[in-house]
C-alpha cells in the first residue's frame, strides 16, 4: 500500500487548479504523484495534514479530475484519506469525487 503525504511529498502550500494558475497546482499533483500511484498500487492512503489548507480548485482538480478519468467508484475503493486537522475535509473531497460523475 502506498502512502502519499501531501505536505511531505508535494507541498505544504498546495495551489490552485491548473499549471498555469501558479505553483503546486491540483493538476500537477494529480499528474505527477496521485495518478502514477493510483495506477501502480492496489490501495493508496493520502495524508492531508501538515499543509496550510486546500483551495476547492486544488481538491476538485486532483480528486475530481481522477474520478472523471477512472470513475468515482474505483477512486473511492482505492483511496483512503487521513485528516486530523480538518474534520470536514474528507467529506468535502468525497463530494467532489461523487460530483465528478456528472461532469
Amino acid at each position: 500500500m502506498k502512502v502519499i503525504n501531501i505536505a511531505r511529498d508535494f507541498s505544504d502550500a498546495p495551489g490552485a487548479r491548473y499549471y498555469e494558475d501558479g505553483p503546486h497546482s491540483g493538476q500537477e499533483f494529480r499528474e505527477t504523484i496521485l495518478e502514477p500511484a493510483f495506477l501502480e498500487n492496489e490501495k493508496i492512503t493520502v495524508i492531508l495534514d501538515g499543509t496550510e489548507g486546500y483551495a476547492t480548485s486544488f481538491l476538485e482538480e486532483s480528486f475530481g479530475g481522477l474520478a472523471r478519468k477512472y470513475g468515482p467508484k474505483k477512486v473511492r475503493e482505492k483511496i483512503e484519506f487521513v485528516s486530523e486537522e480538518d474534520p470536514l475535509l474528507i467529506d468535502e473531497i468525497i463530494s467532489y469525487i461523487e460530483e465528478a460523475v456528472a461532469a
Binding site: 494558475d21 501558479g22 496550510e52 474534520p87 470536514l88
Partner: protein
C-alpha cells in the same frame, strides 16, 4: 433526585411523629390525635408527589437551560469565526494579496472544526435543530467553493461582481440561519 425524595419522605415522617408525640406529651385526649391512617397518609402522599414533581420539573428545566446555553455559546463562537473569515474574504476579493491566502485557509480549518463539534453535539442531544449542523456543513462547502474555486491563488485572475455577490449571499444566508437557530434556543 432519588436521594432528595427519600430525604423528603423521611422529613415528612419525622414531622408527623413529632406532632403525635407532642400531643401525647402535653396530655391531650387520645381522641384528639386518634385518626384514620388513610386520611392522614393521603395528604402526606399528595404533598410528597407535588414536591417530587416540582423537583423533577425543575431539574429537567435546568438541564434544558444548560444544554441551550452550551449550544448558544458554540453558535456564537461559530458566528465570530465566520465573521473573521468573511472579513478576510472581503479584503482578499478587493485586493488580492498572497499573504491573506494562508489566513483564509486557516480560518476555514477553524470553522470546519467548529461545525464538527456542533455535529457531535447534535448527535448527542435531543434538541430539534432548525439549522442542523449538517446543513451548516453544506453551506460552509458552498462558501468555500464560492471563494476558493477559481480566482483564489491565481495572481492574474480577479473576482468578478457575480463571484463577490455569491460569497456575500452565502455568508448572509448562514448568518440569518444562525440567528433564527439562536432565537429557537432562547424560546
Amino acid at each position: 433526585m432519588k436521594r432528595s425524595l427519600t430525604l423528603l419522605a423521611c422529613l415528612v415522617g419525622a414531622l408527623f411523629l413529632a406532632f403525635v408525640t407532642t400531643l401525647w406529651l402535653v396530655g391531650l385526649p387520645k381522641s384528639f390525635y386518634d385518626f384514620n391512617l388513610m386520611q392522614a397518609i393521603t395528604p402526606v402522599v399528595q404533598i410528597a408527589i407535588a414536591v417530587g414533581l416540582a423537583i423533577f420539573v425543575n431539574v429537567k428545566l435546568s438541564n434544558r437551560s444548560k444544554r441551550n446555553e452550551l449550544l448558544v455559546s458554540r453558535l456564537e463562537k461559530f458566528e465570530g469565526s465566520l465573521g473573521a473569515l468573511h472579513g478576510l474574504a472581503i479584503e482578499y476579493m478587493e485586493n488580492k494579496k498572497a499573504e491573506i491566502e494562508p489566513k483564509i485557509l486557516e480560518a476555514m480549518k477553524n470553522l470546519s472544526r467548529q461545525i464538527h463539534v456542533l455535529k457531535k453535539m447534535a448527535d448527542h442531544s435531543d434538541f430539534n435543530f432548525s439549522y442542523h449542523p449538517k446543513q451548516m456543513e453544506g453551506d460552509f462547502f458552498d462558501y468555500k467553493k464560492a471563494l476558493t474555486s477559481e480566482a483564489f491563488k491565481q495572481a492574474d485572475v480577479e473576482y468578478g461582481v457575480e463571484a463577490k455577490n455569491r460569497v456575500e449571499n452565502i455568508n448572509r444566508r448562514i448568518e440569518e440561519k444562525i440567528i433564527l437557530q439562536k432565537l429557537d434556543l432562547y424560546r
